[in-house]
Symmetry: C2
Subunit: 281 residues, 2 copies
């Protein structure tokens, strides 16, 4: 596996980069973004925060709008921002913004016509970290965070792989995709009608099956237009309460679903992860 | 004159807003963005930093990419971000990205077919501040800042109106538009062939005519691809030196012309202005 550098821009004394590579898991060319803090010492290795974006996003939205590089530079954390689905002319798509390209939902599809390429779960859990750890100055300490569909991705991936991450956080996550329109549409298409398969990708179910507990922080705006119909943080609260999983859910009056909300609280999320990412280094 | 609120999003406990209004100066509908810090007290009035954007930008680029709201909220400064030209189907345009809509150059055009609408100088100096000061919780203390074409706009406007601003700063400004391709094309189109008219909008000329000195900060990336052909900060240095105008020009190794450069140093610019904007309040 090789990485091709597409762009490199200095930012807060570090580097904001875009890379492309051929993904064997997704069977297509993929692009991702990375922020690398300035290296104080040769051979310095940084822990990594993976950021999973929401519907319609690419690797660029978080890179350009969240203002995360300032604190990542200060704390010494690498940011890795994958795309939200496989891409390209040879990859199946759907006219809806909430299915197909830009809407991979971080699952491994089992159904036609999606199964050939839509394996974002394996891509984010295995292939991308292997690539990052082989080619960039990073340690094997990882945390994961995301927004909306990406918040769902971060929570489900961390709950299924607690040994791979120090911590997980989410902005406005889709907490219970089995019971909301976005999730029903996407999980139905990618996984078929059998709901036992959907349970593998639903935070409220996975929380009850967790054998190990990770620190979790969730931030939710109270003026988010998707709050009641799509996001359902109360289902996450109930699931966590039922198994005594300590989840910190913070509600913020007046905030909506946009990157202006993320920008307002990204420093808190980075400091939350840094306390754990940097603790044993 | 009335303002119509288009959008309002909470950000760092303040509000990121877009407004539209009918501009009598530009004879078209205009949109601009505003960031308002959270009001600690009723009737609190904030000083204003006007931000002038570069070629191809609207009011949204700085709002979404610079990360300026964090410090504006902390310091208690309102940000006002106008568009870069008149807009609309009835407004003359040009196929080039560097003339017409998105490229007003902050001048009052005297030539056909531009003179009917292209009066961004009067819009930024008079009409927009009058509107802001009539409708929003601001004081009459103003500073001005901009990027590239907007850096040229900020410097020329402040040099011609030192009593209206406490301070001026610029990222990667077009310092000597009379002697670079972008400026020659735009000033020629908007003002005609007579170069004495261009001098009214060239920082290097206006500096020699200044009767009053303002604090000026200029930030320039050394890896900016437009540095030599278009921006010419050395001409600004020479002009300032010739009349002993104290300009602080800071060169930053490795940085380019992008918003990643602006994001990296916007805190410094906001603190520079805050020291002056808040000094006598």
């Amino acid at each position: 596996m090789t990485l091709e550098l597409v762009s490199k821009t200095q930012c807060f004394d570090g580097s904001q980069c875009q890379y492309t590579h051929r993904s064997s898991v997704l069977d297509c060319a993929m692009r991702f973004s990375v922020f690398l803090p300035s290296q104080a010492e040769k051979d310095q290795r940084f822990p990594v925060l993976y950021w999973l974006s929401g519907l319609t996003c690419s690797d660029e939205n978080f890179s350009q709008k969240a203002g995360a590089q300032r604190m990542a530079a200060e704390l010494g954390i690498v940011l890795v921002i994958p795309d939200t689905s496989p891409r390209g002319d040879e990859v199946m798509d759907d006219p809806g913004y909430d299915l197909g390209q830009g809407a991979g939902f971080y699952v491994n599809a089992t159904e036609e016509p999606w199964r050939a390429h839509y394996r974002m779960y394996d891509y984010v859990v295995d292939e991308l970290p292997s690539l990052i750890e082989a080619h960039l100055p990073v340690s094997e300490r990882r945390a994961i965070c995301g927004h909306s569909m990406g918040g769902h991705g971060a929570l489900t991936i961390a709950l299924k792989n607690p040994a791979r991450y120090t911590s997980v956080s989410a902005f406005s996550p889709i907490c219970n995709p089995m019971a909301c329109p976005w999730g029903e549409k996407a999980l139905g298409a990618y996984l078929g009608p059998e709901k036992s398969a959907w349970e593998e990708y639903d935070t409220t179910v996975l929380m009850g099956r967790a054998s190990e507990q990770l620190p979790i922080l969730v931030s939710q705006g109270e003026d988010d237009p998707f709050l009641e119909e799509q996001l359902k943080p109360e289902a996450l609260e109930a699931a966590a309460s039922a198994v005594q999983y300590p989840v910190r859910i913070e509600y913020h009056a007046g905030y909506d679903h946009s990157y202006f909300f993320i920008a307002s609280f990204i420093e808190q999320h980075l400091r939350f992860h840094a306390d754990l990412l940097l603790a044993h280094e």
